[in-house]
């Protein structure tokens, strides 16, 4: 693909796909972090 | 066997005494059928083409009103728990419940759908496939309704309809297609046979699944 031209169709697909991929990684990671840290707080208190 | 007949009689009694169980789907059907000409167009040609789909969709939506009735009352007064505790064959009892629910909520609508001849200018030649496809298609929808009702017992959530409507898609397609075929002079018996096949194929599966779903509420 020519670097100079901007194809809105392709890039909207790329950005939405990328966003959903990041979300799929981010959401479970946050949940794991939260659950593991809950235990630690309980132990220190 | 005697036990089953007793349950059948009891179900009939319950439904016939609670008039709202069969009046509300009928009222819903009549209201929506008379709204279509006002909302879309009063042109007979347009309505004639849309009528098969409109009738089928309205029937499908009016079952949404009644599918909660199949188990909800028995759930609230605790009789389902007793049935589960008894050693009777539960899937037969569920089948009886679905059958009675069909008679009271779907059969009146099917008879009333004849009114579409003058309300929606539905051609009279199409009445035969309309009635036949509704008679064979609606039991399948009631089956899905029973499963959705069993799963969403005691909860007023959208999950029941959300589960039921995508499942009913094949019935809707085949039912309206049968009517359209016959209006265009094509033999529609294959669609009716397919609808029957779907009903026969899904009947044991859905009964089994509904019984499993009912048991979930009493762990």
């Amino acid at each position: 693909m020519d670097f100079g031209e901007f194809n809105i169709h392709i890039w909207s697909v790329v950005s939405i796909t990328g966003f959903i991929f990041l979300l799929l990684i981010y959401l479970p990671l946050v949940k794991i972090k939260k659950n593991e840290s809950k235990i630690k707080i309980n132990e220190t208190t | 066997m005697i036990y089953l007949i007793k349950i059948l009689k009891k179900e009939f009694l319950i439904y016939s005494r609670k008039s709202s169980s069969f009046i509300s789907p009928v009222v819903f059907f009549l209201i929506s059928i008379s709204l279509y000409p006002i909302g879309i167009s009063n042109d007979p040609d347009i309505l004639k083409n849309l009528a098969p789909g409109l009738i089928w969709i309205t029937v499908l939506l009016s079952t949404l009103i009644s599918f909660q009735n199949i188990f909800s009352e028995d759930y609230e007064d605790g009789s389902i728990e007793l049935l589960l505790a008894s050693r009777q064959n539960l899937s037969l009892i569920v089948l009886i419940k679905i059958f009675v629910n069909w008679i009271f909520s779907c059969l009146p609508i099917i008879i009333l759908s004849v009114s579409s001849v003058f309300l929606l200018y539905f051609p009279q030649e199409g009445l035969k496939p309309l009635i036949i496809s509704l008679l064979i298609g609606t039991p399948t929808i009631c089956l899905f309704g029973a499963l959705a009702g069993a799963l969403s017992l005691g909860k007023n959530s959208i999950t029941g309809p959300a589960l039921m409507l995508p499942l009913s898609l094949p019935v809707l397609i085949l039912g309206t297609q049968a009517i359209n075929y016959s209006l265009n002079g094509i033999n529609f018996s294959s669609n009716i046979l397919l609808l029957t096949a779907i009903l026969v194929f899904l009947l044991p599966i859905i009964l089994f699944a509904s019984v499993g779903a009912l048991k979930l509420h009493f762990n």
Partner: protein, 249 residues
């Protein structure tokens, strides 16, 4: 051989074992899947040749095809897990279904959306009530019903059983939906628009496509493990092994 397989199956049902192993596997799988996706995307977007008929827009294929294909595979794998859950009451199968449902829904959504964005410039329409699109939409609705069902039950076991029942009923119904939409389609519109145009694809386009498919499958494996780990961590919060594990970290 059979004994080893049986052992593996029993281990698979154990939450502590899974939690330990997945912690080691996740970084490796994640690294390779992201690497593959980045390579195939760059290759597909910039270095593969332009399509003679469609022009550059065809490059959406590198995102559309993997998403659609994986969304169906996820549903079938979930139905296998549902059967395992209903027959053997394996708790891990319930975790699997619950974790994979949002991933499947996300990929079905990507497939539908990229298909719409691809269809707009090539056929001049965002949406066609074509057999494949309709059955993918129904698949999406099934995923939503499964996700919605999770929250309606108070007990975890009941929710897992309910979801397994829905998944199995859905997998019985999906072929019927697909066939009936096929029949319906033939009456309503000529089959002039068909999406199956990949039969004569050149190898320069095929290799990045295969790479992207492989990358997305690995990615599903990766995020599936992540979601399962998250689910286990919230289900087993009060168990002894989990407390020990997290205090060691």
């Amino acid at each position: 051989m059979f004994q080893a397989l049986k052992n593996f199956y029993h281990k698979l049902g154990s939450f502590p074992w899974f939690y330990k192993i997945s912690g080691k596997v996740i970084p490796i799988v994640g690294f390779f899947s992201i690497l593959l996706i980045v390579i195939s995307s760059i290759w597909g977007l910039f270095f593969s040749p332009t399509d003679a008929v469609q022009g550059d827009v065809y490059r959406i294929i590198y995102f559309h095809v993997p998403a659609v294909s994986v969304s169906q595979v996820i549903y079938y794998s979930m139905s296998v897990a549902a059967a395992v859950f209903l027959i053997w009451r394996m708790k891990m199968a319930g975790v699997y279904i619950k974790s994979l449902a949002p991933i499947g829904a996300a990929f079905t959504f990507i497939g539908l959306l990229s298909g719409a964005i691809w269809g707009q410039p090539t056929w001049g329409t965002w949406w066609v009530w074509d057999a494949r699109l309709t059955s993918t939409l129904v698949l999406f609705l099934f995923y939503l019903a499964i996700i919605g069902m999770q929250s309606t039950f108070a007990s975890r076991k009941s929710a897992d059983t309910a979801v397994s029942i829905i998944t199995l009923v859905g997998v019985v119904n999906l072929p019927i939906v697909k066939k009936s939409v096929d029949w319906w389609n033939t009456l309503h519109q000529p089959a002039s628009i068909s999406i199956s145009g990949e039969s004569s694809i050149s190898s320069e386009m095929l290799i990045p496509l295969l790479l992207s498919i492989l990358g997305v499958y690995l990615f599903v494996f990766f995020t599936g493990l992540l979601f399962m780990r998250a689910e286990i961590s919230s289900r087993e919060q009060n168990k002894e092994w989990f407390k020990k594990l997290s205090s060691n970290n």
